[in-house]
Every structure is written in C-alpha cells, then in structure tokens.
Amino acid sequence: MKEYKVKLFAQLKDRAGQSSWSLKSEQVLRTSELLESFFAEFNDLEKLKAITRIAVNEEFCFEDKELTGDEEIALIPPVSGG
C-alpha cells in the first residue's frame, strides 16, 4: 500500500481544511488519476476541476505519468500572483 501525499494551496487548501491531502492505493497511480480522485472527493470545486495543474517535485507536470509516491506532489489551482 502506497500513500500519495499531495500539497494543497489557496481555495483547495481552504476547502479541504488542511494543507495536504493523501490517497492510499495498492496500485501505481498516475498524475491524472490523482487529480481525478481529489476532485471526486471535493466535487463542489467544479469551477477549478478542469484548470488545476499538478506539480511533481516542484515542476509542472507536462504529461500524464506514473508516480512512485516518493515525489513531492502539489495541486496548483490557477495562480493569481503579481
């Protein structure tokens, strides 16, 4: 059993009530599956579902890829810095 820990920010963090969320899985998870699972659990975040990005080891993930669970994973809702 692997635990995939995910850092949360901004509205995602407020909604989850904590700065991280995790998913346990027997199987190897892909980045897209992690995104899907998060938004299935918090299905009222409809507006952000399609436009939240995923970062792996502090880099945006460009393609759907397999995770080992040892990475630093973060969900990046649309940014509003500046």
Binding site: K7, F9, A10, Q11, K13, D14, T31, S32, L35, E36, F39, K47, L48, K49, A50, I51, T52, R53, I54, A55, E58, E59, F60, C61, F62, E63, D64, A74, I76, P77, P78, V79, S80, G81, G82
Partner: protein, 158 residues
C-alpha cells in the same frame, strides 16, 4: 559567483530603494522597474487588504526559468531582479517589484512585460482579497491555466 539576477519570495515588505540601487549598471542605458501594488477595489468590491500564499520553493524555481528564458531573448538584457511578497498586506503596498537593466530600452520594455505576464500565468502564488463587508475570496482566474501542462481539461480532450 556573481549572478546577473536576484529572486526573492519574502514575507517582509519590499525594499524598493535597495532594489533600484542594485539595478543600476554602468553598461545599461535603461533601468526599468515594475511595482505591483495592492488596489483598493476589484469588480466593484471595496478591498481592505490582501493576503498572498506562495508555494515558495517552486515559485522561486519558476521565476528562475522565466528569467533564464528572458536573458536568452536578447543579449542587451543584463540584469533582472524579481521580489514577490506573501502574507497579508494593506492597500497601497507593493506585492511584487521587478527590475530589468538593459543596454537599450526596447529589449528592456519587452523583458519587463514578459516577466510580469509570465509570473502571473505560471508562478505558484495566490491572492486572497478581503472586502469591506467582511467577506473574502481567493482569486483563481479561469484563463489562468496554461494548457501545455497536465490538467483534467486537456486530459479529457486527448
């Protein structure tokens, strides 16, 4: 190593004078700066303060990538500084301060414009506005996502 750029993601208020001083360079005929300040209204709401949250280590890396790309655009660009503040800040204060020092002004203006636009698009920092009526809201622009990266929309479309 004497780096030709400086990046900081900080809780402290931004020392603009210091940044202006270090932006000066005898090789550069143009020293440009941009200050993003906390505005007192947004879409008809009166804003009393702002709070920024940063994924600081990644934000720093993303800004670094942008700066490296900008240096590659034109050899006339000699020095770049980017400081973004996070935490709470009142109306009127700078949340971001950028400087570009270049040989001539055309490449400097282009570099500064590119820098702020790319930061707003790709750097993991988020703004929360607090309104006069006690409400508050995270800003997550709908168009803020760059579809080059993995998100569920591009995944669904593939």
């Amino acid at each position: 190593m004497n780096k030709n750029y400086f990046i900081d993601i900080t809780r402290a208020s931004i020392d603009i004078e210091e940044l202006n001083k270090s932006a000066e360079d005898p090789e550069c005929g143009a020293v440009l700066s941009f200050s993003g300040t906390v505005r007192n209204h947004n879409f008809g709401h009166k804003v009393t303060k702002l709070s920024y949250e940063a994924y600081a280590p990644m934000a720093k890396k993303e800004i670094e990538k942008i700066i490296v790309e900008i240096f590659a655009m034109d050899p006339g660009i000699k020095k770049i500084q980017a400081v973004h503040r996070f935490g709470e800040m009142p109306v009127g204060e700078s949340s971001i301060y950028l400087t570009v020092s270049s040989k001539h002004r055309p490449e400097g203006f282009l570099a500064l414009r590119t820098l702020i636009d790319r930061i707003k698009q790709d750097v993991p920092i988020w703004k929360k506005e607090f309104y006069e009526d006690g409400e508050s809201e995270w800003l997550h622009p709908d168009e803020g996502c760059c579809h080059k990266h993995l998100c569920l929309k591009s995944y669904d479309m593939s």
